[in-house]
């Protein structure tokens, strides 16, 4: 695979940041800016999936779990902020006299909520990853296990309607850390925070990919045994990538709540987790921008194409997915390189050695 050009990538992030933080708020309507904020949240989670799956070879099919940790931590805090001293309205509805469940109480605190958004995914992914990677669980087994966790959590939330809002979810938030959410200026602020967090996540993985750890991660993906022979523990390498991806999913989830205004188990369950993966595969899982752009494209498709062709949009998505997997296994972001190569090979003789090397890089 051709060596990435770090400065090109960094200026790419710069352009992306300017587009998101400066241009978008000026040219988009409130509605589309809010939608873009939502896509940014999925993109943040997608950047993490790109790290774990694209670079680390771990097919994380249950990122909804970590998305949920961030989202529900935030939603619980905002619900309590809205309810003030009262028990949240939906709880009164199901059981008029019961008190606030104990696990809600600490989420009154802003500091605890912010810490929970960061620490809960880190701890859960840490424990889970340690147990799995040290035992050498990988491939399809890991994918199935992570997917099962997402299903289990969504079912748990659905069936604890009084404690978590169940299938209806948590909604109707009035304040965001003291700011009135209805105020258009505050909506723009919330969007800017999400967009800035996305840019920071991109910067973080850009740095990770260039570091020795990044090399080690790709090496672990491609030849785990050889990494072991060289004296590294591949389990630790994977663990770090997995924890980072969980953290990003949680941050995406946390910002999803004030932007969308509602969180339900449907947004974190199996289908939602797979849709996150679909965006990443679509954009190009191993590239820097691919996962984020892919996730945003899928989000946009859902709002826009889903409006025009409600019945056929899912088929369009499925078809696109199949086409991309079949013909562009490295996602849409590999299109320019592929195009350049075709032109090159049309001009000169084909260079099979490069093509094979690139394919090797794709395999995980």
């Amino acid at each position: 695979m051709t060596k990435p050009k770090p400065w090109l990538s960094l200026s790419g992030i710069g352009v992306f940041a300017v587009l998101l933080l400066a241009v978008a708020p000026l040219v988009l309507t409130d509605h589309w800016l809010n939608n873009l904020g939502k896509y940014c949240c999925w993109a943040i989670a997608a950047v993490g999936i790109g790290l774990a799956w694209g670079r680390g070879g771990m097919l994380v099919m249950g990122q909804g779990v970590f998305f949920a940790l961030g989202a529900y931590s935030m939603a619980m805090h905002l619900t309590l902020e809205t309810a003030g001293d009262r028990v949240p309205g939906f709880m009164v509805l199901y059981d008029p006299l019961a008190p606030l469940p104990a696990f809600w109480e600490p989420f009154r605190s802003t500091a605890f909520t912010l810490l929970a958004i960061v620490l809960l995914p880190v701890v859960l992914a840490g424990v889970l990853g340690y147990a799995l990677f040290k035992r050498g669980v990988k491939g399809a087994y890991f994918a199935i296990l992570s997917q099962a966790l997402a299903v289990a959590l969504a079912t748990l939330i659905s069936s604890t309607i009084r404690e978590t809002g169940g299938d209806t979810g948590l909604s109707d938030f009035k304040y965001f850390f003291g700011f009135v959410l209805n105020d258009p200026a505050n909506k723009v602020m919330v969007y800017l925070i999400a967009a800035a967090l996305l840019v920071m996540c991109l910067l973080a993985v850009w740095q990770l990919y260039r570091s020795r750890f990044g090399e080690l991660l790709v090496a672990t993906r491609d030849a785990e045994e050889r990494v072991r022979f060289l004296g590294y523990d591949p389990a630790n390498v994977k663990l770090v990538a997995f924890v980072f991806s969980a953290l990003m999913a949680s941050i995406g989830g946390a910002m999803f709540v004030p932007i969308v205004g509602i969180i339900t188990p449907a947004e974190i369950g199996a289908a939602a987790s797979i849709l996150m993966i679909a965006g990443v595969a679509f954009g190009g899982r191993a590239s820097l921008f691919g996962p984020a752009l892919g996730a945003m494209a899928v989000g946009w498709g859902q709002s826009s194409l889903g409006s025009t062709w409600p019945e056929s949009w899912t088929y369009i998505l499925g078809l696109l997915f199949i086409v991309v997997i079949l013909f562009l296994p490295n996602g849409l972001s590999s299109l320019p390189a592929r195009f350049a190569r075709t032109r090159r090979s049309a001009a000169q003789q084909p260079a099979p050695a490069i093509a094979t090397a690139e394919l090797e890089g794709v395999r995980s």
Binding site: G89, P96, G178, D183, L192, T264, A266, P310
Partner: protein, 432 residues
């Protein structure tokens, strides 16, 4: 060394982003405690344009996903009502131009599409929704943008909003009549079976309170998630509990599984009948003869003999893609569009505040298929007749009980002394 300089630049970039966030935080709008009541600077200006010969309305129904089977019919009947109104000259002389959106049985999508309809399409009002979860997702958005939402399905009550009109029954128009009917039948032991979400949970909380007053004993209470249809183990509990009647608040296709398990367990309408609040003419055929003989509580039945109803049934049967039968939620959706027409014409304007002011006069009525309904301007619900129907062999309903008069809507059950005042106070407080 180049590595350190690269590191530093990454740091600078991160710093720049952090600064952006701080600036964003500093230069923003209202904080909690600021006075934002009365619209003020936070309420977005309405972009509704009625200067032309048309008025734009939004229809928001799940055309895909689990609820599509029910909501497509509502969408269809809204189209029929719009065609009828247009043929009669429109609303205030303006033809209805509708924008149909798909809620996709996904509550955040309902919220997103509501915002789109109000701010991008600039519709004057939105009609649709089915599940309480979808309504609860729409509510904060229409309140924020000062839009109008017409909700056509019976629900659990304990809600009212200046931006929502409810044309389905609240609890005192469906659940309480059903309980009165059970009491008149001498029922002593009742079993509650429902889907696990807002409506059944809340309805059952109310049923339990009223049952205590009526001297009816609740001998069991079971819930199954909306998307599951295996009721075998719950039905076994019903067999063991030996109730006189089962109160069914199950919704959607889960009912098919319940009725099948019930029938297979040897429970019969002759000994242990079921009263349902969600099986109507649309759903009954899917359960075939196994559901025959059981009861349902609704305000409207296809079998109601009113002149408006026969016209309604005739128009619906002739309408393209019609299912051929009429049902309560469909009729309520049909009412909602006509009610909006009356409201706008009474107000002489499409403006939301003018429409609400017109409603306040309590003079808005509509000669609906279920009878002449009157809008309550205070709580935005309508008066309705209570009816109990018994499912016959044609999967239609024979009406076996009717309320003495039209029942006034009472979403917070203020006229019922058995409903604890402190709970009502808490609920109203929590609803803000």
């Amino acid at each position: 060394m180049s590595t350190t300089s690269k590191r530093r630049r990454a740091l600078v970039a991160t710093g720049a982003i952090a600064t952006t966030i701080t600036l964003a935080l500093a230069g923003c709008g209202a904080r909690a405690g600021d006075d934002t009541s009365g619209g003020g600077p936070t309420a977005a200006a309405s972009c509704v344009d009625t200067s032309g010969s048309t008025v734009k309305l939004g229809f928001l129904n799940s055309l895909t996903g689990g609820m599509a089977i029910s909501e497509k019919t509502v969408s269809n009947v809204l189209h029929m009502a719009a065609d009828e109104i247009n043929a009669g000259g429109g609303i205030l002389g303006k033809k209805i131009e509708y924008v149909q959106e798909d809620g996709a049985t996904d509550w955040p999508t309902f919220a997103e599409k509501t915002e789109k309809l109000l701010t991008q399409d600039c519709v004057a009002a939105i009609f649709g929704g089915w599940t309480s979860s979808s309504r609860k997702a729409v509510k904060p958005v229409v309140e924020k943008l000062n839009g109008l939402f017409f909700y056509p399905v019976q629900y659990e009550g304990l809600e009212s909003s200046p931006n929502i009109y409810y044309t389905g029954a609240t609890t005192n128009q469906q659940i309480i009549p059903a309980m009165d009917f059970l009491a008149s039948k001498g029922v002593k032991k009742l079993f509650l079976a429902g889907s696990d979400y807002v409506f059944p949970r809340t309805a059952n909380a109310i049923i339990k309170l009223y049952a205590a007053k009526l001297g009816i004993q609740i001998v069991g209470e079971e819930y199954v998630p909306l998307d599951k249809d295996d009721w075998t183990s719950q039905v076994a509990k019903i067999v063991a509990a030996k109730p006189d009647f089962v109160f069914n608040t199950i919704n959607g296709s889960s009912n098919v599984g319940f009725i099948k398990a019930y029938y297979d367990a040897g429970l019969t309408p002759a000994k242990t009948p079921i009263i349902s609040v969600s099986i109507a003419e649309e759903e009954a055929p899917a359960m075939g003869h196994e559901v025959t003989g059981n009861y349902a509580s609704w305000n409207y039945f296809q079998s109601l003999k009113t002149p408006t109803n026969s016209k309604f049934i005739q128009s619906w049967k002739a309408y393209p893609n019609s299912s051929g039968v009429t049902s309560d939620p469909m009729e309520a959706a049909y009412i909602s569009l006509y009610l909006y027409k009356s409201l706008v014409e009474a107000a002489g304007s499409f403006d939301v505040d003018a429409v609400n002011a017109a409603a306040k006069k309590n003079t808005i009525t509509f000669d609906a298929p279920e009878g002449k309904v009157t809008l309550d301007g205070k709580n935005h619900h309508i008066s309705k007749p209570g009816h109990i129907g018994r499912i016959n062999a044609d999967n239609q309903f024979d009406i076996v009980w009717a309320s003495d008069a039209f029942i006034k809507p009472d979403p917070y059950l203020e006229g019922y002394d058995w409903f604890p005042a402190d709970i009502r106070k808490q609920l109203v407080g929590a609803a803000g």
